[in-house]
Every structure is written in C-alpha cells, then in structure tokens.
Symmetry: C2
Subunit: 177 residues, 2 copies
C-alpha cells in the first residue's frame, strides 16, 4: 500500500523547495523546472495549497508563491490535510463533528472502534511533530546502499525533539479550567 499519492509527493517537494528559500518565493514555472515536475500538475497543486492557507501567492510579472508561515510552524499533518483532505485511519475515525461517524454502519457492534481511534490519535500526533523544516533539511547522511544494512542516520535537528508520547498518554484536556 502506498500512503502518499503522487500529488502529495509533488506538493511536499515543492514545499521543501520553498522552505529552503524562505522567505523568498518562486513561480510555478521556476519550481517545475528546478524540481523537474510537470508544470500543469504543479500549478493545480500550488493553487490548492494557496486556497488552504499553506501558501501565499502574488500575481503579476514578478509574482509567485511563498510559504504562508515559517517552515517550523508547518507540520506534516497540516500539509497532508491540506492536500488530501481530512485524514483518518478508518471510517470510524472522522474528526469532524456533525456527521461524526455516519459512515460506519457497524457502530455498536464494532469491536475495535475505541482502540482504532486511539491509534488514529497517536498517528496524528506523530505526523504533527514532523515539520516542513525537518523535511526540507539538507540530507547530510550518506546514500542508502541497498544491502549495506545500515542507513537512516539521524537528522540533526530531530535530536532535540521530545520522544513521542505513548498511546497511553493521549491528548486529554485534563485541565480545562
């Protein structure tokens, strides 16, 4: 199974490129050429990201796109939601109120809904801790040689991050007072 669509791939690439040259911007054409992405597709993606508030655009001769916030303030969770829509693990994990869980007919008979939601929440928290700045970081590590066994050396800025919360420590608003 492939989690990210091609659209998301392109978007993340474009965003990483923009993040590296913050606060300067770039035009759709410029990005497409630099990243070797098909221009028409990239255009649609940039437009969408703009309408979702991730990018800001300027029209005209010297126009282009730039990040709406700093790369440190943009998380992977936000980006995925902006590109692919509200994210959920299963049908019963819908966050939006209102409809809540109209999609799953099992409801009361579902054995795993509660636990599913915990996994979902934990996953979202994970994605919310990865920032665009981290994704855009220069990759100083060596190439991944297939068969070398090693690989995936740590990202420097990631060293400062807190460990992920356990599933047991879910986001509970303990103190709403």
């Amino acid at each position: 199974m492939l989690l990210l669509t091609r659209k998301t791939d392109y978007a993340l690439l474009a965003l990483a490129s923009l993040a590296r040259q913050t606060p300067a911007g770039a035009s759709a054409r410029g990005l497409a050429e630099r990243l070797k992405l098909p221009l028409p597709v990239l255009r649609n993606i940039l437009k969408q990201l703009t309408s979702r508030g991730v990018l800001k655009s300027t029209r005209g001769t010297r126009g282009g796109y730039r990040l709406a916030r700093s790369p440190q303030e943009i998380t992977l969770a936000q980006l995925l939601e902006a590109i692919e829509g509200p994210m959920r693990l299963a049908r019963c994990c819908s966050v939006p109120e209102g409809e809540e869980e109209a999609e799953c007919k099992l409801e009361e008979s579902c054995l795993i809904r509660g636990n599913m939601r915990r996994v979902h929440a934990s996953l979202m928290q994970f994605l919310d801790e990865v920032t665009l700045a981290q994704l855009a970081e220069e990759d100083s590590s060596a190439e991944l040689k297939p068969g070398s066994g090693a690989g995936l050396s740590p990202l420097t800025t990631l060293k400062d991050r807190q460990p992920y919360p356990r599933l047991a420590e879910q986001p509970d608003v303990r103190d709403p007072s």
Copy 2:
C-alpha cells in the same frame, strides 16, 4: 484521505474477533454473521490472510479459521502488509531490495528522499508496536462525546509500552565492524 481501505477495516474486525476467542476458531459464515459483514467479501479476505500466514485454516464440516500466532505476536504493521501489500510512505520508500527505487524518476534531484525515509521508518516502527491483542481489547473507556473535549482514555496494556523512539534514534546499525 482515508488510510485504511474497507478491506482492511473488515480484516481487522475479523482478526479482532478471532483474537478474542483464541485459540478457538470460527468459520467465515459465523464471522460474517456475528460482525455483520458481507460474506463473499469476508471470504476473500480470510483466504488472503491465510495465504499470507496470518491465519490458519481447516476445511471440512467443522473447519474454519484461527490465528496462526498469538494476538500478542501479531502487529498492526504485519497485518497491513498482509492485507494491502508492502507498505511505504512515498514511492521512494520501497523496502524491497532489487528494484529499490526504480519508481521515482527524480532520484538525485529529490530534495526530501532521505528525510522521507526517516519518517517512513519511524512510522513503520510505530505500527509495529501496536499488537492485535491491543486492538482486540475490550473497550472499557467511556464513549467519545463529541464536544466534550476530552476522550481517548488510555488502554491499560498500552501503559506498559515503551515510548516511541524519536526520529533521531532510527534503527541504525552503528557498528557494522
């Protein structure tokens, strides 16, 4: 975006049901009736899970399916791979050697491949720490009231789990000597 397909939903439900009655098994028909799932679909899923080694089957009058291992030994990562195939975040995250990354044409020009793989590895580790036993646990927590703000109370057995490793502490074989 919806991460799990309906097929996976059904599979997890069936597996949770089987986990609760381990080591006894159940027939496809029995499961379908109890879980209110469409029988033909469930049949295909159970067959697939059997061929991938997650379930064991017995034919004949008193036959049926049962878990091939104990629920504690089956992880969410294993299940997702069994149902949806090898999992990867993006096209450049393919684990299988051989082809490696033939799918992504950007390769050398890709800005985020290295970091993408780190996120992928971290995600896989997360999924590998959730067991079927946890998913199948009785849900003792209260219903999630929309608007209550709180929710997602901890699962008991999850309390014992180790915190997730940081991205910075990736599985690196630091000492290949």
